[in-house]
Every structure is written in structure tokens, then in C-alpha cells.
Subunit: 234 residues, 2 copies
Amino acid sequence: MGEVMLPKGGAMPEQSLIIDDARHWPVRFRKNKIIFHVGEFGDTVYKINKGCVRLQVNGVGGSRQIVAFLFPGELFGCLPGVRSTAAEAVTIVDAEAYSISSLIELNEKKHGVAEPLIDAESDLEASLAQLVANIVHLPALGRLLWFCRWLYCKVRERDISGFIEFPMSHRDIGDYLGLNAETVSRGLKELENGGLITRRGRQAFILGGAPIRDCASTGGATRTTKRLSVVSET
Amino acid sequence: MGEVMLPKGGAMPEQSLIIDDARHWPVRFRKNKIIFHVGEFGDTVYKINKGCVRLQVNGVGGSRQIVAFLFPGELFGCLPGVRSTAAEAVTIVDAEAYSISSLIELNEKKHGVAEPLIDAESDLEASLAQLVANIVHLPALGRLLWFCRWLYCKVRERDISGFIEFPMSHRDIGDYLGLNAETVSRGLKELENGGLITRRGRQAFILGGAPIRDCASTGGATRTTKRLSVVSET
DNA sequence: CGCTATGTTGACTAACATCAATCGTCGTGG
DNA sequence: CCACGACGATTGATGTTAGTCAACATAGCG
């Protein structure tokens, strides 16, 4: 109780290999390309090889709510039927596409095919629920810190000094966390001032010097650690 | 674009009858009884016959985030494996429990068994995404009006004058909409003053005199209809 | 009949959205 | 190679909304 669940770090492509016996083909999407719309009928499952995908819905007044960012090794579009969210490429995306009919066929011959798909949807629901909880109960700084820690677990590509890079814009981050781009900018600056993250250039950062789980106990950030500290009680 | 999706009104028990060939048994939960916890392994699907169930996660600092309210005819716990949310009975609940292994078995003999389950999860994801979007982009009054309209579609039990009753407390509503109980109370009062809803006694209400789709154009509420009007452009 | 949970109302405050202006970077085309 | 334009990031000033704290009312339940 009271802890914030971080997704299991890193992609697990080995688990998804079971489905590779089904018919599949490579696809590539350019930046900001719409992969599928909300409400359209879908019979294709995707597995990301490279890049970052966002799932989103169109909110009121043309606003956009991003509900998930997906990274290599992850599956999306696993439930056949009407798409409950839209999918767009944040960066250039290389993915494998699987036809659902082929997966169903395969599932009848071999058990365990459906499991990665079910797990993917289960994870999506869990992370969505956590997202709502965090948006509602954490202040802007807390949400940003949570996002940075989450991203740090997800993104495996690091440069020589351990920096990772934001694949998405501040506006994307804001549309995910329920903030606007200005607040994202201010918040990241404040986290940097508090020693919780370090930035270099435009969009590279690592979590502050200490190990991840201690990040809230480092730094003398005064008011920042008030409700922020709750986030790191893993 | 820009519209708020309301869930398809009313329960559709006839669709779920396909799964009734699987092994199932009646269960009853008392008010506030925990049906399953988040993170525990689940091999049971439930179909509500009577009452109201909430799905929720425990947020930071002991706070609670409700992610869905479910009503008669609806299924929950459809994905086998680890529960991504907890489930609790809002009222006394009568439900049917189905063992997943029995459903899987049945699915191999007869097609279409999995569809109601998949649809249930698809609906859950869609409504969760809409919930996030509405929490982020609508002010308190807008969220409450959206909730009332949604409830009015869902709850089929009405008394002679068309009133329906809130099954859940103001705190529950607040934990769903990202508001606190005080704001819920104030907001409902303001909606009533604006003629958008009518209350009688503690928790009964109907949507204001006009047909539902015109509810935002009725009433002279001045500032209320500013961003509220967007909600009703169906 | 009292206790507890829930709902209501008021005053105050802080956090974040909004608007606006500026800067930096990248990509394109002359 | 440089000029231009577009997009994203940054910074500042200001206002509104809803959270918080507190007190009280009411209903439900034993």
C-alpha cells in the first residue's frame, strides 16, 4: 500500500518469441505517423523493434490525452475488434505486424500463444490505472519525477556516460502527465536544481548521482521532498 | 473529434449468455467487501446480476483511485493472471462467477466464447482512457456533469418519477473523478442551481427537464456552460 | 439513544493554467 | 555557405480553480 508500481524494467523480447511462429511482416512508421485510429476495426498486433509509440485518445476541445508510451519489445493492439485508443509513432518506428487470425489459428495448435497478448493488455490496464492515480494525487514535480524514473527503467539505450534521451517532446510529456509544456519545462528545471536529475543539451538526462531508489533522499530539495518522497518508497 | 464518448447505455446480458455454458456459480458480496486484490492471481470471471462494483488501485499515501464503476450485465476480471486492479462491492452485489479454465475449455469447442470477455476489457480500456482525458481537461463541474449523464445511462432502476439513485458515496465519486468530497458536494449543488440536475433527498437525481442531449443548452448557468458545453456535443 | 459515517458550508491558500515574449535548434532551400 | 522559417523549449507575470482545514448537520445503525 502506498507504493508506486514501476513497470518491470526493460523489454522482454524472449517471451514474445512464441508468437513469431504466426504470420508476420516488418513495418516502418515515420515520425508522428498514425498507426491506427481510435474506433477503427483492427486485426493486427504490433511488436516494436525500435523506436517509441504513443497510445492516445482525443479529449474534449481538440486536446489530446496520451495514455501510454511503448518501447522495443512491447506489444500493442492485442485485443481484436474496435481499437480503444489510437496509436502514433513518436519516433521512427520499426515493428513487426502479426495478423490476429493467424495468431488465433496458431493458438489452437500450440498453447501459450495468447499469454503475451494477455499480459500486454494487463500491463496496459495496470499502467493506465497507475497513471490516473498519479495524475490525481501527485503534484507536477512528483509526476515528472515518476515519469523520469519510469523512462529510465524503460529506455535501454544509453550513451557512454549513462545518459538517456527523451524520445518525446515536452508537449508529449505534458499530454501524458496532465500538464502543459511550460509546467513540464519548469518542473524539469526544478528537479535539476534539486539534484534529482541532470540534463545535458536538449533532452538528455540521468537520475541524480545516487542509486535510483535513493533519489528522493539525496539532494537538499526542501519542499520538493514533501509529497515527492512518497513516490520513492518502493 | 472533440466529443465525449458515453458508454453504450444499459446492460446487454443477452450477449453474455454464450458464456453461461461454462461452469459457473452464484456469489454474493456485502457492501464494501473486497472481491479481489490488485496483484493477486485470478482465475475467476464475474458477471454482475445486481448491485454496483468498483475497480480501483491504491495510490500514493493511502489514497484511492477508482477507475471504473460496473453495473448489472457487465463482466470484470476477464483477463487471466495477475489482477491489474482491485475490485470491491459498492453495494450488496449478486454475481455469477465463472472459472477461467472452464471458459478456455468451452472456447475450444465453441467459437465466440472469448468475445464478451475481450469486449469487456476493450470497454474498460476505452473508458479508462476517457476518464483520464476528462479528469485532465474538464473542470470539476464538467466532470460531475459527465458523471451524472454517464450514470443516467447506466443505471436502469428508476422510481416512478424517473429518479435514479447514486449507489456510491460522494467520496467514491470524488475518488473516481479526481475531486474531493467537498468539491463533489459543492459541484452537485451548483449543477442543481443551474437546472442541470434535480436532487431529492440524499442521493436521488434526474437530469434536468430537457432531453439529455440538450441538457447543456437548458438552464441559464452562465459560467457553467463555458467549457461545459463541450461535453454535450455528442 | 448515542455513535459513527457521510454530507454540507465557509474561509483561505497554493498550485497550475494561461497568455505572451524570447531564444535556440534543426531543416530547407536559395 | 548562409538566410529563413518552423517548431520546440524557456522564462515571466497573472489569474482562477479546487484542495485543505475546520465546523457543523444529518442519516443510518447498533
